[in-house]
């Protein structure tokens, strides 16, 4: 006697949510908590620095790199879409664009930090603004870096012709992460460059 025989069959087909997506959403929830704490710390310490420089003096709104990062959400969505339809050339192009746009954002952050450190003399230990600014933007940048590494590996595999529509699910989960990184930037941007200035 085995278990299934003793019970009537389930009336309808048994479908469950994809475990990759569930896990990525759970991970995103956890990441959201980390960012929330850093954002709260940034807002709490806004204007509490005992010495300069202040955000208004040194921060410039990074419009170009923000546009790049946000548009990479569209390109990665298109890339997965093309892969699903097995349009490999379009997939590779869109994926490369995503990677390039992400890289431009990261370079933009690097240039900004370089200016802040060398010209304005703001480091992480200068004052509370420096501490909170570098840790919040740096936390986001580290997530972008992690995403870029993953994007780069996929790009290399794609150029080697090893990515096909069977991997659509994996890339879909990866694109969730990338969308999350972009969404966090909207919050960080608002807090640091709009409210914080």
């Amino acid at each position: 006697m085995t278990l299934p025989q003793t019970m009537p069959a389930a009336p309808e087909a048994w479908t469950l949510p994809s475990k990759g997506r569930v896990a990525m959403f759970s991970f995103i929830v956890a990441e959201t908590s980390i960012f929330t704490i850093f954002v709260v710390a940034y807002l709490f310490y806004l204007g509490k620095s005992l010495s300069g420089p202040t955000p208004r003096q040194v921060l410039e709104v990074p419009i170009f790199s923000t546009i790049c990062l946000l548009s990479s959400s569209i390109t990665i969505h298109l890339a997965v879409h093309y892969l699903r339809q097995a349009k490999y050339a379009a997939f590779k192009l869109a994926w490369f664009l995503t990677f390039a746009l992400g890289a431009i954002f990261l370079i933009g952050t690097g240039i900004e930090w370089n200016k802040l450190i060398t010209v304005d003399g703001l480091t992480i230990s200068t004052n509370l603004f420096g501490t909170t600014y570098y840790s919040l933007v740096g936390l986001h940048a580290s997530h972008v870096t992690g995403g870029l590494i993953a994007l780069g590996i996929v790009l290399a595999l794609a150029l080697a012709g090893k990515v096909n529509e069977k991997h659509e699910h994996h890339l879909d989960v990866l694109s969730l992460y990338w969308h999350f990184v972009d969404a966090v930037w909207v919050v960080v941007f608002t807090v640091v460059y709009v409210i914080g200035r």
Binding site: M1, T2, Q5, T6, I153, H167
Partner: protein, 284 residues
């Protein structure tokens, strides 16, 4: 016990054991441990982490590695039986004797009316006290508002005896809301007192409440305690209780709804749900 004949297969696919997770975890720990010891440890950890990542990646891509495990039928063949197959059903009594009191209560409107009437009586008595003892009708009003505006108690007598619109507003709000709530409570409780509801609800309850406040207010709010004249306080409480009680008992009582079926109490209206249809239409 014989194995089942039509078993689909006797092998099961399971994820293959792999050392990469433990290597990656060790590497990652070493990277952090290097912060505590020396950079060389971090470097070793970084190498292990990289190796772990690559190894793990190759383990799951392009396809996850599996191993086939023999799953002989016998292991599955254990029957699921119990030594205690008897099932006893718990009895659910539907029509057992149960006392339900009270049978009739006052509607909510009666409580509100009583509370409002009582509040007027109380306000009149309190203002009378203000005029007689302090020569100012505003004294009791400001005192009531002091529950919210604690600081006003520390101010001189002349402040408390003069008119302040904000304090009047707060005091009126407090007075009316509390009166309505207490009135509702009266409406619910008066039918529960077997005899002479006015004496119990209108006299004894206010005295008990005053006694409780008299003993505890000195600890809770000593400044307020100093200002209160307790004879007048008790008088206005009794005034409230008697007037509210009188107004409430003059209202028409209604039957409680606790005899009605759950579905009706829950507000479900559907044909056939209500056995006592006639009764209900009578009420309307």
């Amino acid at each position: 016990m014989r194995p089942h004949e039509t078993h689909p297969k006797d092998q099961v696919e399971l994820p293959a054991p792999t050392a990469w997770p433990v290597i990656l975890a060790f590497g990652l720990t070493l990277v952090f441990a290097g912060l505590l010891t020396s950079a060389a440890v971090s470097a070793l950890g970084a190498v292990l982490t990289l190796a772990g990542c690559v190894g793990w990646f190759r383990q799951v891509l392009p396809v996850q590695q599996h191993e086939m495990v023999p799953a002989p039928h016998v292991a599955e063949a254990a029957p699921v039986v119990t030594e205690t197959p008897d099932v006893a059903r718990m009895k659910v009594f539907r029509d057992f004797h149960r006392a339900r009191i009270p049978i009739e209560i006052y509607p909510a409107a009666a409580g509100v009316k009583g509370g409002l009437a009582g509040s007027v009586a109380m306000a009149v008595l309190a203002c009378l006290h203000g005029v007689i003892s302090h020569g100012s009708i505003w004294f009791p009003i400001n005192l009531l508002a002091a529950i919210v505006f604690q600081n006003s108690l520390a101010l001189p007598e002349s402040y408390i005896n003069s008119f302040h619109p904000l304090l009047l507003l707060v005091a009126s709000l407090l007075h009316i809301v509390t009166s309505i709530l207490v009135g509702l409570l009266y409406g619910v409780m008066l039918p529960m007192f077997p005899r002479r509801p006015i004496i119990l609800g209108g006299l004894i309850a206010p005295v008990l409440w005053s006694g409780l406040l008299y003993t505890s207010l000195g600890i809770i709010n000593p400044l307020l305690d100093q200002r209160i004249e307790w004879s007048w306080f008790v008088a206005s409480q009794i005034g409230f209780g008697v007037v509210a009680g009188l107004v409430v008992v003059r209202q028409q009582r209604v039957k409680t709804r606790q005899f009605m079926p759950l579905a009706v109490l829950a507000g479900i209206e559907a044909p056939g749900i209500l056995e006592e249809k006639d009764e209900r239409s009578e009420e309307k």
